[in-house]
Each structure stands twice: as C-alpha cells, then as structure tokens.
C-alpha cells in the first residue's frame, strides 16, 4: 500500500508539470462557472463554482487515475507485475487512492487560491466540519474509484469511453457547481434520491453547508454518517468485485490481454 502510494506521490512531486496538467480542467471549468454566476448578477455564489472546481480535481483523479488505471497498467505491462507480486490487489488500490489524494492536493489548492484571488469570494467556514467532511468525501469518492477500477478490469479500451461518458453526468447529478439536493435544487424529488446515491452529491452538499454557512459538525452529522457508511460499503463491494472479476479473468485468460 505504502509502495503504490509512494510511486504516485513521487511521480507528481518529482515532476511539477503534473500539477499544471491536472490544473487545466478544474481551474478553467470553475472559472467559467464562476463567471457565469457573476454574469447572472449573483457574484456571491461564485464560491460554489470554486468549491466545485476543487472537488472536480479529485473527481477527475478518481476517474482517470483510479478507475481506468488498471487498463493503462495492462497496456504497459505493469498489471502482470501486480498479479505476481505477493501484495493483495486491494492494498495496491488503497495505496493508489492515498497517493492520488496527495498528488491531487496541489492542483486542488491552486484552484482554491486562484479562484479566491480572482473572485474574492466570502466564506464563513466551520473548519472542523470542513475537514471532517472533506476527508469523508474523499474516502467515499476514492472507494467508488476502487469499485470502478475493479469493474473496469472486465473492459479493454472501452474503459476510456466509459469514463468520458460518466464523468459529466456524475458532475451534473452530484451538483458540483450548484445544489443538486435539498434547498435550491432544480431536481424533482425522485432525481434527488438518485443523485444521493453518489458520494460526491452528499459530500458537496455538506461541504457547501460547512464552508459557506458555518455548518458545524453537528449540523452536517447526517451527511457525515452517510458518507462514512458509503465509504465502508463501497470498499467492501470493490473488494468483492475485484476478487470476482480477477478470478473470471484468470479462468478466461483475459486478465492481461492488451488492446482489446
């Protein structure tokens, strides 16, 4: 776990250009959305767009560096090394998650800094709740990434197209830039229920409450509880899915087949 995390951290911090590469989409998307808020006369909500950009950096990392990572590892022949090493694959995935979080932190921090510098957004955070919510959101989000990574073992190059297809819809449903559940949501109740299954939705809702409305841990305890439960369930499911698909791949001989 430590080794895989270290590789990811080292690759990012040893090559600072990675930060610039990872910064493009979250920074420019959040600036565009903040300008959209500003152009509609609601500059006080530009902070929602910046917060969305910060979390988009992590969501992008989950999609492209967790979910489809095994597919790329297969392409370059690293996946075989994972299989023959005594380390459990789940531990490798957990290490990849921890490394991914640490590697994405600089990009996310830059989105926050540039966003707040450009738009001078007012925040009124309850820091204990912010920190707790942030950590639990990342835990459940990366657990979802582990589950996706396991499921993508069954795919070949389709994984890239699947990633492209699900990235935006999940960003939309989870309300990265606007509240998608609760007060202010444009969604009907049924769609809000569907959106609530995504960890990012609950996390964004709780983060908005704790960053902009001084929501203490007491105010967001229900969201925190849901996030914790989601993280545990998703971790369990990813472990089961990984084992099942790994066994299936071994039986059918497709586990390390490239360019499918």
């Amino acid at each position: 776990m430590y080794s895989r995390a270290w590789v990811r951290v080292r690759s990012t911090y040893g090559e600072p250009l990675w930060v610039a590469v990872n910064l493009a989409v979250p920074l420019l998307s959040s600036l565009a959305m903040a300008l959209l808020y500003g152009s509609t006369g609601l500059s006080r909500y530009t902070g929602f767009a910046i917060l969305g950009g910060i979390m988009l950096a992590f969501w992008g990392n989950v999609l492209w560096s967790m979910a489809s990572q095994f597919n790329w590892d297969k392409e370059v022949g690293i996946f075989e090394i994972y299989l023959v090493s005594p380390a459990p694959i789940t531990a490798i995935l957990v290490g990849m998650s921890l490394g991914g979080i640490l590697a994405t932190l600089p990009s996310a921090a830059l989105v926050a800094l540039i966003g707040w510098a450009v738009f001078s957004t007012t925040i009124s955070p309850a820091w204990d709740a912010v920190l707790l919510t942030f950590l639990l959101t990342l835990a459940s989000l990366y657990a979802m990434g582990m589950l996706m990574s396991s499921l993508y073992l069954a795919y070949g190059r389709e994984a890239e197209s699947m990633n492209s297809a699900i990235g935006e819809p999940i960003s939309f449903l989870s309300g990265l830039y606007f509240p998608s559940i609760g007060v202010g949501s444009p969604f009907p109740f049924a769609l809000q229920l569907v959106a609530s299954v995504i960890p990012l939705t609950i996390g964004m809702d709780a983060l908005r409450k704790s960053v902009f409305y001084s929501g203490s841990a007491k105010n967001v305890w229900f969201d925190l509880m849901i996030l914790a439960v989601m993280a545990v369930i998703l971790l369990y499911l990813s472990d089961r899915a990984l084992t099942a698909l790994e066994n299936k791949g071994r039986r059918e001989g497709t586990l390390v087949v490239r360019l499918r």
């Binding site: 250009l17 565009a32 959305m33 509609t40 006369g41 297809a165 699900i166 606007f178 202010g184």
Partner: protein, 279 residues
C-alpha cells in the same frame, strides 16, 4: 485526387476509431450523454443563480443552452489531432502515415472531419434533449426559433466553422509532434480556455479588457453568435456578419495552422521525435 482520397481514408479511419468500438447506436448514446450533462450543468447554474436573484429569462437560458451545446463540438476538436498523433506514435501508425506520399496533413484533416461527422449530430441531440430537460427540471423551456431555415442556418454555421476547427487541430498537432509525455496538457488548456473565451456561456463583455478583446478576435465566438442569431434572435444581419467573420477568420486560422504544422513536423523529423515513445 490523391489528396481527396487520403482525406476520405482518414475520415473513414477516424469514424472507425470513434464509432466502431461497439454498436454504433450505443457509441452515439455514450458520446451524447456527456455533452447533454454539460449543457444541463450550465443551465442549472444559470437557473439556480438567476432564480434567487429574480433575473431568470428563457431567452438567456436559450443563450446558454446553444452556447454550451456548440462548445461540446468545439471542445472536441481540440483533442482530435492530439489523439491522432499521440495514439499514432504509440501504435506506430503516425510514422507510417508520415512517410506516405500525401503525408500527415490530409490525415489530420480527415480525422477532424470524422470528428465533425460524429459530433455535429450530437449538437442537435443536445439542443433537443436540453430543451425538454430544461422544461422538466426548471419549469421553463429556452426560447428557440425552430424552423427549417434556422436549422439550416445553424448547420451552415457549423460547416463554416470547419476551417477554423481544422486550423486549431494543426496548431495543436504542431505541439503534439514534439512531445511524448503530457500530450493532453495543451489541448486541455485550449479546450478550457475556449469555454471562457468563445462566448459559450456568457458574453465577451463580461471579461475584463484585454481578455474581452481576445474573445472578440476568436472565430469560434462568431460560430456561437451566428448560431444564436439563427436559433434565438432571428437576426439576419447578425448572422451574416458573424458568418463573414467566421469564414474569413477560419481560413486565416487554417492557413496559419497548416504553416505551423509543416514547420513543426519538419523540425520534429530532424530531431528524431516523430516516432519517439516514452514508457
């Protein structure tokens, strides 16, 4: 004639790469879901912001829906040449294309045309789905003028944007031939900057000078204006002036793109970078 044949072969190859990895209908659905979600995200941000301020207008919603639908198309072009070159280096296809008599210029043009062929219908689908989804979600539909004439005018604007899109492709391709790592960096920035500078979501006047000037100078901005003139404002004068700028600006962009790409490719060949891969 050889050039045309090479372009058609590349269009066919690009189409196979984009649409033939699964059932074409499934591919189209997969490729449509993300742009629709992106359009609805922008619309929801506008709805949320403007409803609280009591400033919601269906016309402005239409402005955002048209702009973000077209942006999906424009943004896609930024990745096509990079994908063609980066994947081509990886699979050894690009060096083989380079040594053919027509070389890589018609190849990249063909790949961009293939991208146009598969993403142009997505614009129409995005507009239609976003119209109904907006009505369901926000209780208000964007005010579109949907007639055969407005549809044809929008289609003509999309076709007129092709030289500009292919020109952008060549400019980004000039970067891709040199790099074998981080090849997605520049297209990501260009694609993101186009969201801000092409009037996809808000007028150029929102941006401070000189950024507003940059937005006014980009041909893609006039694709947005021409399409909005057809679909929202019913303004023939705005349409013709935007189309004129789009066509002239696009041709200039194309000429600059081809020139840049030729120089870049020759330089990369001398430096032995055309088939360089990094594991």
């Amino acid at each position: 004639m050889k050039l045309v044949r090479a372009v058609f072969a590349s269009v066919w190859m690009g189409w196979q790469r984009e649409m033939e990895w699964a059932n074409p209908v499934f591919c189209l659905i997969i490729k449509t879901v993300a742009p629709i979600a992106a359009v609805l995200t922008a619309a929801a941000v506008y709805w949320f912001g403007s409803s609280f301020a009591g400033l919601f207008t269906p016309e402005r919603l239409a402005y955002i829906v048209v702009g973000s639908s077209l942006y999906g198309q424009v943004g896609a072009y930024a990745y096509v040449p990079t994908s063609a070159i980066a994947e081509g280096k990886w699979s050894n296809l690009y060096p083989q294309v380079f040594i053919t008599p027509p070389s890589s210029i018609p190849y990249l043009a063909g790949r961009c045309l293939a991208s146009f062929a598969d993403s142009a219908p997505i614009v129409g689908i995005s507009l239609a789905v976003s119209y109904y989804a907006s009505y369901i979600l926000f209780g208000k539909a964007p005010t579109f003028i949907v007639t055969t004439t407005s549809a044809l005018m929008t289609a003509a604007a999309l076709v007129a944007s092709l030289p500009c899109a292919i020109g952008l492709g060549y400019v980004l391709g000039s970067y891709s031939v040199f790099v074998s790592r981080f090849e997605w960096a520049l297209p990501s920035y260009v694609s993101g900057l186009l969201m801000i500078f092409s009037e996809a979501l808000f007028p150029a006047s929102v941006l401070p000078y000189p950024f507003s000037f940059v937005a006014e100078a980009l041909p893609f901005t006039y694709l947005m204006r021409a399409s909005r003139a057809a679909l929202i404002y019913d303004s023939w004068s705005l349409y013709t002036s935007s189309m004129t700028y789009l066509i002239i600006g696009g041709l200039v962009f194309l000429a600059v793109g081809i020139y840049t790409f030729r120089i870049a490719e020759q330089s990369a060949r001398r430096k032995g970078l055309l088939d360089k891969k990094v594991m």
